[in-house]
């Protein structure tokens, strides 16, 4: 048999005490009848399958339903239940900071919100899923609170000087999500159509939704030097 490439041999790292402890506790709990192995697998699968689409749905519904929006801004934790997210039962978010209050931050023509966690990587996983790699980097965490406009510009987001940028630092008990403004060109759209343009980065606050951009579509090829993809 021939192959076109070879794989490096799998190097096994030493087994750690915590790997052993985790499995031992789990198996004892199963043996004692507290839950089953399948229960455990299903919770793990459920937690890992959360995505930002819940947050997208919240924003899209808010754009169409002023009463929902009012409830969401007033009490994000409670209103999350209306889209199937209960921050307590189960949390299932794989974070040791999973008991929190959830706040939704509304952007306006004069105010732009963005979220960060300077201490570690707290993130509203029940509504946004796993955080992106860059969100967890010291670079983002350290600089966003000091020079937000500079960091936002690195994401391609240039805000006018008269727009206040407000950075919200997550912590063990407080999680945030940004509610961007509904973009032009979306008049008459359905909730599904609107939800499709509210991407993960819009909900963090490092991007703005656009009527011609959805998260699932392949980005357009840059035009390059000759095409003049000028800002």
């Amino acid at each position: 048999m021939s192959t076109t490439h070879s794989h490096a041999p799998l190097k096994e790292s030493p087994l750690t005490e915590f790997e052993v402890l985790e499995l031992a506790v789990r198996e004892l709990a199963i043996e004692k009848g507290l839950f089953s192995a399948d229960d455990h697998r299903r919770f793990a699968e459920w937690a890992e399958s959360r995505t930002y689409t819940v947050g997208s749905r919240m924003v899209a519904r808010s754009w169409l339903d002023p009463a929902f929006k009012e409830r969401l801004l007033r009490d994000g934790t409670e209103t999350s239940k209306e889209v199937g997210v209960d921050w307590l039962q189960p949390t299932g978010q794989g974070t040791p900071s999973d008991y929190t209050y959830f706040y939704v931050l509304e952007n306006t023509p004069k105010l732009h919100n963005v979220i960060v966690c300077t201490l570690c990587s707290c993130y509203p996983r029940p509504v946004l899923g796993m955080s992106p790699d860059w969100y967890r980097t010291p670079n983002y965490r350290r600089r966003m609170v000091r020079w937000p406009r500079q960091v936002l510009a690195e994401f391609g987001l240039h805000l006018p000087p008269d727009v206040e940028v407000r950075v919200h630092d997550s912590n063990q008990k407080s999680r945030f999500m940004v509610m961007p403004m509904r973009p032009e060109g979306t008049e008459g759209w359905s909730e599904d159509q609107l939800a499709a343009i509210v991407t993960r980065d819009c909900l963090i606050g490092v991007a703005l939704p656009r009527a011609d951009v959805t998260a699932s579509q392949v980005p357009k090829q840059p035009k390059g030097r000759n095409g003049g993809n000028k800002r």
Binding site: L15, T16, E17, F18, E19, V20, L21, E22, L23, A24, V25, R26, E27, L28, A29, K32, L34, F35, D39, H40, R41, F43, A44, A47, E48, L88, Q89, P90, T91, G92, Q93, G94, T95, P96, S97, D98, Y99, C117, L119, C120, S121, R136, T137, P138, R141
Partner: protein
């Protein structure tokens, strides 16, 4: 016998040799990538809360309490694992001896070639 969270279990303290002891700086945890066992612990937490054995909020509060006292030398990311094991022994779901024996059995199984 229940310890009421006042003293550490030896079987858990022995795991300290396997991790870097906590310093004043390691609250900055974003540089590290969570290990797979950490996600598995969270799934265990959910199962226990769902079953009514150890409520999530109660466990979170115990993590704060134990993590700053009897297990203060451990890194923050190990708190859930330590707290779940500690709480289940406190509740006499299993004993320290059972856990020690199970860990030995698990280690032998995972290291088998």
């Amino acid at each position: 016998m229940s310890r009421g969270g006042a003293r550490p279990y030896d079987v858990l303290m022995s795991a300290l040799s396997d991790v870097e002891e906590r310093t004043g700086n390691d609250l900055v945890c974003g540089e590290r990538t969570p290990a797979p066992w950490e996600s598995a612990v969270q799934a265990t937490c959910e199962c226990l809360s769902s079953a009514g054995t150890l409520d999530n909020l109660e466990r979170r509060q115990a993590e704060d309490r134990l993590g700053e006292t009897v297990y203060a030398r451990f890194p923050v990311h190990t708190r859930s694992a330590l707290t779940v094991a500690h709480s289940l022994m406190d509740r006499e779901i299993f004993t320290e001896e059972e856990l020690r024996a199970k860990m030995k059995e698990v280690r032998a199984r995972l290291e088998a070639v």
